[in-house]
């Protein structure tokens, strides 16, 4: 079949070549539809169900909302697990589906279930699904500020409420229209509210209660349509406007009349624009601000969407009031552009190096160009494939592309063809067309099998990557898919286009100038090879020694599981103790930001504290997400400083500030962590059960046990308590004496402190809540809360302290649940000990020493689980892959012995990789693992090409020793070429320091190091092994 394809390609060469145009056209079209982002999306298929429950404490929100929602969602098809948190004012249930579930299908299911339980939830609470977005979704952020001296229409300076109003009613509606934007999320400032703040004393004077006020406001705030009248042929619409429109409207609402004298709102209290009880704040450069975040719809092109948002924002600026500044603080385009630039630079430099090498070694411009043409063609084909497969272009997926590897197959074919052409021309002079075509066919056919097998083997070695699951899978599947696609398209091209092009373009005089380099190498190689054949035992034992040495060396290298992609910006969590108030957090944030801003490398710093309007990331007020945007490196005092060093410096500086703990990370990484939100330590022991106190007690007991086990470090119990709570506990007996119900008491307390929403005030299109609550001075005065008069049903009052006990005590800060059960997690890391035995010890000790009450149980999790399952899978998949390769080799040679000889190339190739890593101080990682994978492929390919030729010669000539020497000499050039192009193609990546270097450097380092050792092996050890293996055959024969 291969022969017929070859024959077809050579005979219909023009037709085949014209297919290139189709390929180019398809590639260019695909490029325009290729989703581009900086990093691969590692978010799982999840839907957040958020229910805002103003005023609900963690316990209430769990009991009244989280539980019914969770129960309703249990048993959905394709459900992986649910987890939930219940906090002050918020219940969030995260539903995680099996990989590959269609997100819209999943949301539809959830929608149905939520609809069914709506009636069981407290009135007025609506569970809502979070935006259809992923960890890559936060693509654009901006802040809104007033320039100094800017004043509002009413002459006042802009405050946080006014800025928020601009965001909510001018900016947000316009940006939300940008295609690809699913949500504009706002944090900071205060949502404008109309506040009625009655004074308790005045209410007593007039005998009105908070309830009376609320009722009066509700009853006096609506427009009503009243149909129409037809009169004199006209149709008159009738309406009765009664909406409250201004502060004075509200003030004039009559609550009741005393002896014909109306008591109005103004009589009992004040009406003013007030601040909501907010759950989050935003700061920038040490000042409070309003921060908007554009979230991208899942699957969109982040670069395009953020460009569109930026463009729209330009337009929005024109519609802003005088003196208002909107400032872009985070724009994904920057990062994506940087990432693309890195990839482009690497690919272009790699491609150029490959072309130069080809040219130098082949000594023939046309041949070099034909080979080099494979690069863009394979690239275009790959892009088409990526679009079809839904793989996005990013640092990971494009990071492992090496043009050297891609052209390997073509190099071998072209090299052989021009060698044969040159030989033939030297013998016969100029060739006739038919002769030439025949010769090209022969030359191609001669090497097509080894090179086909080689490329297929390289492709096969990537298969283990597909067995990775979870985050690792999400990061490396695109990489493997892209490389495999590139290799396959190169394979097809070398079968069709390369022979056709050789047939068409190598028509003239083929002068094969062996370049000086090759000649010199050859003259050096031959004596060395002969010497090696003599000292074969020494060479072999050296090689074996080297393998063992590097196996030992590999164990000394550190290891890291997942590479960290450098995003060029810093994110840091500032963590404060639970119970820290928003105002306090803002004050602490100010100090922190001023310090960070003092670094000359920092361009701006901004932060989100607490939870935004849409609770995509529900943080309590004691946690702040800081984003530190850095200046371009050229503006740094020391441009050569690494980001790691800067982070260390920054950490040392901010450590001095009191009251904060920090976790340094990066913006996208932070978002991923928040969304995936699993246990991020080596070991996580989850205690499930009912009673929070018992859970905490058991968890602490477990921690005590774990900490005594050898190797345990950073042991911690999840922070679940410590939220100071002021409980107003009704005294039922006294309440009864005053004729009050518990509910009446709670209503009073809730309205007084939390406020009660009694309707909306419309200002044109804008609508604002109308809220009744106590004046701020009284609300904040915890000491005199007990003096609050509670109205009695038959008039009169009783102080709150008379009918309720007021208690300040720590309460649950948040309640976490998993799969429908409360849980507390104990986490720990392992240092200086292997994970497996540690986990075994932990399980045994806990079984022996911890006794859980009935109804409580444990579950072990943590990254050890992922590592365990990954290594379990790999331990199956890797041997299978090796078996497949061996099988392919046996197929190629129909000889187990030869296949085994070639296979020895793999360990020797790995030696070089290990040594290169060690020399560059790099740990073993999945990235370097991918390098090793590519390496084994190249090693096998080289061996294949070499042995196939030697074998053929041996069969033709019959003399083993001579065939080996001759074959090796003839194959020196292609072996060197494939080795050189493959390693040089990776050189730019290995030296890369830009964005994305973390992934590419280890990979490229391994490949380059490995290729050096593998080439040496192919050139010296393989011939020796071949001779030793077949020497006996010869003797026998």
């Amino acid at each position: 079949m291969i022969e017929s394809i070859l024959r077809f390609s050579i005979e219909r060469r023009w037709l085949v070549l014209s297919f290139i145009l189709v390929l180019i056209g398809g590639g260019v079209w695909s490029y325009q539809h290729l989703p581009i982002d900086a990093v691969p999306d590692i978010t799982n298929v999840q839907v957040q169900v958020n229910t805002e429950a103003p005023g609900y404490s963690p316990l209430e929100s769990e009991q009244r909302i989280t539980y019914p929602v969770e129960t309703a969602l249990a048993g959905l098809p394709n459900l992986a697990y649910t987890r939930s948190i219940s906090r002050y004012g918020l219940s969030q249930v995260t539903v995680v589906f099996e990989e590959g579930t269609d997100i819209y299908f999943a949301r539809n299911l959830i929608n149905g279930r939520l609809g069914a339980i709506k009636s069981t939830l407290p009135a007025g609470l609506e569970p809502e699904m979070g935006p259809i977005s992923t960890g890559l979704g936060e693509i654009f952020m901006y802040t809104i500020e007033a320039l100094p001296g800017a004043i509002q229409a009413d002459g006042k300076a802009y405050d946080a409420t006014a800025l928020r109003e601009i965001q909510d009613w001018i900016i947000k509606p316009q940006l939300a229209l940008v295609p690809g934007v699913i949500e504009i999320n706002t944090i900071g400032g205060y949502t404008k509210q109309y506040h009625v703040t009655p004074s308790p004393q005045l209410m007593l004077t007039f005998g009105v209660t908070l309830g009376d006020i609320s009722e009066a406001l509700r009853d006096n705030n609506s427009n009503r349509g009243a149909g129409y009248i037809e009169a004199n042929g006209r149709q008159l619409l009738v309406r009765s406007p009664g909406q409250l429109q201004s502060l004075s409207d509200i003030e004039n609402v009559v609550i009741k009349t005393i002896d014909a004298a109306p008591v109005t709102i103004a009589d009992v209290g004040e009406v003013a624009i007030g601040k909501e009880l907010r759950t989050g704040a935003a700061t920038r450069d040490g000042r409070e601000t309003v921060l908007g975040t554009a979230m991208m719809l899942v699957g969109e092109n982040s670069r395009e969407v953020s460009l569109a948002v930026a463009l729209k924002l330009e337009g929005v600026r024109a519609s802003l009031p005088e003196g208002i500044k909107v400032d872009t603080v985070y724009d994904r385009t920057t990062l994506v552009d940087k990432a693309i630039a890195t990839v482009q630079k690497n690919l272009i430099e790699g491609a150029l190096l490959v072309v130069v090498v080809l040219f130098l070694l082949l000594g023939n411009v046309r041949a070099a160009l034909i080979t080099a043409a494979i690069i863009p063609l394979a690239m275009l084909a790959t892009i088409s494939g990526m679009v079809q497969m839904g793989v996005s272009a990013n640092l990971m997926s494009l990071g492992a592309l090496d043009f050297g590897l891609i052209v390997d197959g073509a190099v071998i074919i072209v090299e052989n063809a021009i060698r044969r052409l040159a030989e033939a021309q030297a013998k016969n002079g100029k060739l006739a067309l038919k002769q030439r075509l025949e010769l090209v066919f022969d030359a191609t056919n001669e090497v097509i099998r080894p090179s086909l097998f080689g490329v297929i083997i390289i492709t096969v070695v990537y298969i283990p990557l597909f067995s990775l699951t979870g985050v690792e899978g999400k990061m490396f599947h695109p990489m493997a898919a892209t490389v495999v696609m590139a290799l396959l398209s190169a394979l097809v091209l070398s079968l069709t286009v390369v022979p056709a092009a050789v047939a068409v373009f190598m028509s003239g005089q083929v002068r094969e100038k062996e370049s000086l380099l090759i000649v010199a190498t050859k003259s050096l190689y031959k004596p060395l090879l002969i010497l090696a054949m003599k000292l074969r035992w020494l060479v072999l034992s050296a090689a074996i020694g080297l393998v063992f040495f590097s196996a030992w060396l590999a164990t000394t290298l550190g290891s890291e599981f997942i590479p960290n992609l450098n995003e060029g910006d810093i994110a840091l969590h500032a963590l404060r103790i639970p119970g820290t108030g928003l105002e306090q957090a803002v004050a602490m944030q100010t100090l922190l930001e001023e310090r960070v801003k003092a670094f000359p490398q920092v361009e701006k710093v901004f932060a989100k504290i607490g939870t935004a309007e849409v609770a995509t990331d529900p943080m309590p007020p004691n946690v702040a997400d800081n984003f530190v945007m850095l200046k371009p490196r050229s503006e740094w005092p020391d441009p050569s400083q690494t980001q790691g060093e800067l982070v260390a410096e920054m950490e040392a500086a901010v450590k001095l500030l009191p009251g904060n703990n920090y976790e340094f990370t990066q913006p996208i990484q932070m978002r991923f962590n928040e969304l995936i939100s699993g246990v991020r330590t080596d070991l996580g022991i989850k205690v499930f059960g009912d009673d929070l106190e018992q859970l905490l007690k058991s968890a602490e007991a477990i921690l005590d046990v774990v900490e005594t086990i050898d190797g345990a470090a950073d042991g911690k119990v999840e922070q679940v308590s410590g939220l100071p709570m002021l409980s107003v506990i009704p005294q039922r007996m006294t309440l009864a004496r005053y004729g009050l119900s518990v509910r009446a008491l709670q209503d009073t307390v809730a309205t007084a402190i939390g406020g009660e929403s009694v309707g909306l005030v419309f200002e044109g299109d804008r609508r604002f809540e109308l809220v009744v609550r106590l004046p701020e001075t009284l609300r904040r005065d915890v000491d005199s809360l007990g003096d609050l008069p509670v109205p009695l049903p038959n008039g009169g009052y009783v102080p709150l302290s008379e009918v309720a006990v007021i208690e300040l005590a720590p309460a649950p800060n948040q309640i976490s649940r998993e799969n429908g059960k409360r849980r507390v997690v104990v986490t720990a890391n392992v240092r200086g000990r292997d994970l497996g035995s540690f986990i075994g010890d932990v399980k045994q000790r806990i079984n022996e020493e911890i006794e859980l009450p009935p109804g409580y149980w444990l579950d072990y999790g943590g990254t050890f689980k992922q590592m365990e399952s990954a290594s379990k899978r790999l331990s199956i998949v890797v041997p299978i892959t090796l078996a497949i390769i061996l099988g392919l080799l046996i197929m190629a040679f129909s000889s187990v012995k030869d296949a085994a000889i070639i296979f020895t190339g793999v360990p020797l190739a790995l030696t070089g990789g290990v040594i290169a890593l060690w020399l560059r101080d790099m740990p073993l990682s999945i990235s370097s693992g991918v390098g090793f994978i590519a390496l084994s492929g190249v090693a096998v390919l080289n061996g294949l090409v070499m042995l196939a030729f030697i074998r053929q010669l041996w069969h033709e000539q019959g003399d083993l020793y001579l065939s080996i020497i001759d074959g090796a000499m003839i194959r020196l050039r292609p072996v060197l070429m494939t080795a050189l192009v493959a390693s040089l193609g990776f050189v730019p990546m290995a030296l890369n320091t830009g964005t994305g270097a973390e992934v590419q450097r280890p990979l490229a380092t391994v490949v380059i190091g490995g290729i050096v050792s593998s080439t040496l092996l192919t050139l010296f050890v393989l011939p020796i092994l071949y001779r030793m293996a077949h020497g006996r055959d010869v003797k026998r024969g």
């Binding site: 004393q201 063992f548 404060r576 009191p658 009251g659 904060n660 008379e802």
Partner: protein, 420 residues
Amino acid sequence: MNIFKVLVFVHALLGALMCHASGDTGNQKAQQQAAPAAIKGPHGGVLLQDGETSLELAIFERGVPPEYRAWISHQGQVITPSTTQAAVLQVRIVRLGGIVNTFTFAYHGDAEQGGYWLGDGVVEEPHSFDVAASLSIAGKTHQWAWESHEGRVAIKKEIAEKAGIRTALAAPGRIQRTLSAYGSLVSGSENLSHIRARFPGQITRVDVNVGDRVKQGQVIAQIESSESLKRYSIFAPIAGIVTARHANTGELALAQPLFSITNLAKVWAELKIFPQQRAEVKSGQVVTIAAAASEQMSSIRQIIPTDDDPYVLARVPLFNVEGDNSSPWYPGQIVEANIVVEEVDVPLMVDKRALQSFRDWTVVFIQVGENYEIRPLELGRSDKTHVEVLSGLNAGDSYVLENSYLIKADIEKSGASHDH
């Protein structure tokens, strides 16, 4: 990559080729002594060792006030007073601010049944100090010193200043404890007069109208008695304002009240005192009464019970200034009252803003140089701004007044441990 590595590599390569068996590099003997606080003894205390002598020192506080307990062993032998080797143990602790406590130890209990050396005196909270232990045994004195800090944190001066951490000195002061109550104003019965005719008759003259101010004894009407047909005058019995008039010339004055005169110079606030406050409110206590825009100090005159209601009424007189037309106090008005139930000079008090909760304690943070440390307090009486300190703090200590939360946050974030 550096030259060194390359050399190592080449060396290793040669080594591997020559099949060298890698030799034992020799154990490096650990020379440095571990920090004493790091080692825990069998009784959960700090284990101190010096040659063949070892001392374990623990703070024991289960069921008793915190006390020092120690276990001594020498040459593998547990030391008690009955053993041949006599031991003298002394522990000295220096707290932040330079206060020194010294403990000497005596043996307690039976060596066979969990006996121990017991330090004299209570180890007061917080257990945060620099410890120096000296043990004389077999003619040799062993010394150990280490830091045992808890609830202590250091913040640089300029950062503290920037963060708005301000301190104040703990000092004596006056605590004015108040309660608040609501009540309504009534006019006193002595200030309200309903005037009737002495003898029925025809009204011949009326001199005053509603709203007129009258003096005591002023003639306000004349009536011609129906029996004697003599005219007699009606006098105002009290000074005040005429608030009602049911009399016109020519009408008959029978038994009905003709005029009402109210005197607003003095009105009474009847404050509702609910059961919980009952015990504290007494007559004679000073009260500040406030309504709308006015405020007046007065004192409780009487406390009277009500018929059915669960509260009692504390009656407080209020005075409207004579001639002042605005008359801020009027019957029917609802007022808010702050009753001073206790006013006392206390030897030591702190500002309430300084208080924070820490574990089960209410604490303030004292400042010594750049160090801050918790001081668990026992608190007494308090008013709106200050609270009396019964123990835990000394007069003259500099405590954090403003932004004390930052100190709490900083101590708790570093995962304060309670070491015993």
